[in-house]
């Protein structure tokens, strides 16, 4: 197999860059060109980068994933897709990174609310203007090689615009479906919720089978007093590589919540970053489940930039077999961010001797009047709880299964959308390492 490091990606993707540049407006052409310079200089991240030291990137050296071509979306079994696509949500479906109008369900969106293909919206001068205003504003191309790679080579994605004071009755789901092996799928989503709007969004990543590279960047802008919840459900195929970043900017008094379920892929890395403005609040919840040889890498960064911000974070991991889970959570409290109230927690459960959890909470505090707490645990089940259940007639094995599942279920239970809750629960149960897990425990 040919060794394909970043420079070989540059070579293999040269035609694509030329093609995309030609199709882009001048501002986007410039963005792509700058990102290309960045990617040329740094390439994909390396293990020597502190933020990437736990992430396994060698697969990118071994395999060259070429850009996915648009495939006929009728090749997708609609019944199968229903396992992931919610019936009671507006949904936009991307197949191998390309918008599929026939699979999407966007009827009845309130006037002014836009949920559309990014490529199509870029072709429309009016929306292109709005997009140009936001593109790469929540993240810089020098953030990491995947953001640069995404900025240079994305062809399509999603553009969501919720106008001011709009309170959406149903959630909006973005479904990323991968149908081809050995390809790279590269999408960009830009989500803007104007002031005082309220919306729940779901990003679902699902794949049929085979090894493919899934790179996505989502930028989310939460306007003043707006309230945005974003669920991410990553159930890529078991050989896939997933690199997904969510970069958020919150205006003053804005609320943002992110619930992250990392269940699929062989190697998965998730980055969730937010910038908190005056009195804005964020809540990050995460659950990663690693079985077999899965590697699940979860990075978060919460930047408290202004006073009176509140952040709450809880990530939990269950790791079995030879799986490895990583949590790197960084909270930065700027000098100006007095009265910040921040809590970060990471808890891991190891079910086998070969499983591994690496956890690294980081607090950087430059203000002097703040309340910040963090805690991490890596361990086995609590023996006291096992005995308690045994003394209530439950045998030891069932007690262990029950407690392990309960540990995970705490995160699933936080999901407020019933249909989504059931999908996630089903996906967790499907992968759950222990047999005999009983739905009735919930």
């Amino acid at each position: 197999m040919a060794v394909a490091n970043s420079s070989q990606y540059l070579e293999a993707y040269a035609d694509r860059f030329a093609d995309l540049s030609e199709k882009s407006d001048s501002w986007l052409k410039q963005q792509r060109t700058e990102a290309l310079a960045q990617f040329t200089a740094t390439g994909f991240p390396k293990a020597r980068d502190e933020e990437w030291r736990y992430t396994q990137l060698s697969a990118l050296d071994k395999t060259l994933f070429l850009p996915a071509q648009k495939s006929a979306s009728c090749a997708i079994d609609v019944e199968w897709l229903k396992n992931y696509q919610l019936a009671d949500a507006w949904s936009i479906v991307l197949v191998d990174g390309f918008f599929s109008a026939e699979l999407s369900q966007l009827d009845g969106l309130p006037a002014g609310v836009v949920v559309s293909s990014l490529a199509q919206s870029l072709a429309d001068p009016k929306s292109a203007l709005l997009i140009a205003d936001k593109f790469n504003q929540a993240v810089n191309v020098d953030e990491n090689g995947f953001v640069a790679f995404n900025s240079v080579y994305f062809a399509d994605g999603v553009w969501v615009h919720i106008t001011a004071k709009q309170i959406l009755a149903k959630p909006i789901q973005i479904v990323h479906v991968a149908t081809q092996a050995s390809v790279a799928i590269n999408t960009r989503s830009i989500i803007v919720a104007d002031e005082q709007s309220q919306v729940q969004l779901i990003e679902t990543f699902v794949g049929l089978e085979g090894a493919y590279l899934s790179v996505s960047v989502a930028e989310v802008f939460v306007g003043q007093n707006a309230d945005v919840t974003l669920y991410k459900v990553q159930v890529e195929s078991e050989k896939a590589l997933h690199f997904g970043g969510t970069y958020v900017k919150q205006a003053r008094d804005a609320k943002f919540r992110h619930d992250n379920f990392a269940l699929g892929a062989l190697i998965a890395r998730s980055d969730v970053h937010t910038d908190l403005n005056l009195a804005s609040e964020c809540e990050f919840n995460g659950f990663y489940l690693g079985i077999k040889r899965q590697h699940s890498d979860n990075h978060t960064r919460i930047n408290h930039l202004k006073p009176h911000g509140i952040s709450r974070e809880l990530y939990k991991g269950v790791l079995d077999d030879k799986a490895r889970g990583v949590f790197q959570g960084r909270v930065v409290v700027a000098e100006d961010a007095q009265k910040t109230d921040s809590q970060m927690n990471n808890r891991n459960l190891l079910l086998s001797n070969d499983a591994e959890a690496d956890t690294k909470p980081q607090l950087e505090i430059y203000a002097d009047d703040v309340k910040c707490a963090h805690g991490v645990t890596v361990g086995q089940l609590d023996e006291k709880s096992i005995f308690y259940l045994q003394s209530r007639c439950v045998d030891e094995e069932t007690a262990r299964n029950m407690l392990t599942f309960a540990f995970a279920n705490e995160m699933v239970d936080k999901v407020k959308i019933k249909s989504l809750h059931d999908v996630i629960l089903g996906q967790v149960l499907l992968r759950f390492p222990q047999e005999g897990v009983n739905k009735e425990w919930l």
Binding site: F387, L389, Q390, S391, M402, A406, E440, L442
Partner: protein, 251 residues
């Protein structure tokens, strides 16, 4: 019901119980009292099957069977119930599910079919009212976020539903205010029956004002140093434990 003979128990190399003898007949209530460190909790733990203890000598026979040989869940299914001093919080498992699972495993153990869902709810709701609990507690995770009093009531609720034959109450009065103590005691009293026995482990006499024991035993330094009727508890309340400990030391 329960026959404990010359029971010696160690934790690691350290002997905790040094020859306990106790006969408990059906319908009797025995109070085990004693100062801190006397081995009271060890006794309730060893009877309910908590790990970490080594039996070095003696026996405990429950309904003609070797109790110490049974796994904790088998003891529970056979009718031994431990009401914990510190009930454990189990986030993610609902209270009502645990009750149902426990009840069904007892029924299965005795060759009975699973309880009907409607019958079960009727049963549970009746007991919930008896203990003056809010029905919401049923659907919350086991003990999660419960106050001290709510946890103890929940223990008694479980006891009321599982209908054990031998109830071991480990410091049930600790952390209870007077109202909660009354409710818990009434719950226990309502479960008294000629074929159900109780072992109450307690530091203070207070609980015995509400639940009248037939026998009181004083445990000190791992042995029962004195046994008597309910009047012994009052004497202890008045004089403390030191006179018994001293008497034992000089004996």
């Amino acid at each position: 019901m329960l026959s404990i003979k010359n029971l010696h128990v160690s934790v690691g190399d350290k002997p905790i119980l040094k020859g306990i003898n106790l006969e408990i007949k059906p319908g009797e209530i025995h109070a085990i009292m004693g100062p801190n460190g006397s081995g009271k909790s060890t006794l309730s733990h060893i009877l309910s099957g908590k790990s970490g203890y080594t039996v070095t000598d003696g026996s405990a026979t429950y309904q003609g069977k070797d109790l110490l040989d049974m796994a904790p869940e088998i003891r529970a299914r056979e009718g031994v119930f431990l009401a914990f001093q510190y009930p454990v919080e189990i986030p993610g498992v609902s209270n009502v599910y645990l009750l149902k699972a426990a009840l069904n495993s007892i029924r299965k153990h005795h060759g009975q079919s699973e309880v009907d869902a409607m019958d079960f709810l009727t049963l549970v709701k009746g007991k919930v009212r008896l203990l003056d609990m809010d029905e919401k507690f049923l659907y919350r995770a086991v003990n999660e976020g419960f106050s001290g009093g709510e946890k103890k009531r929940n223990e008694i609720l479980q006891m009321a539903i599982l209908e054990p034959k031998l109830c071991i109450l480990d410091e049930t009065d600790s952390g209870l205010d007077i109202d909660a103590l009354k409710i818990v005691s009434e719950g226990v009293n309502s479960l008294r029956s000629p074929d159900r026995s109780f072992v109450m482990v307690t530091h203070y006499q207070r609980l015995l004002d509400y639940i009248k024991p037939d026998f009181v035993h004083v445990l000190a330094h791992g042995q029962i140093v004195k046994s008597g009727g309910p009047e012994l508890a009052l004497e202890l309340e008045e004089k403390g434990y030191s006179w018994l400990e001293d008497a034992e030391a000089s004996a």
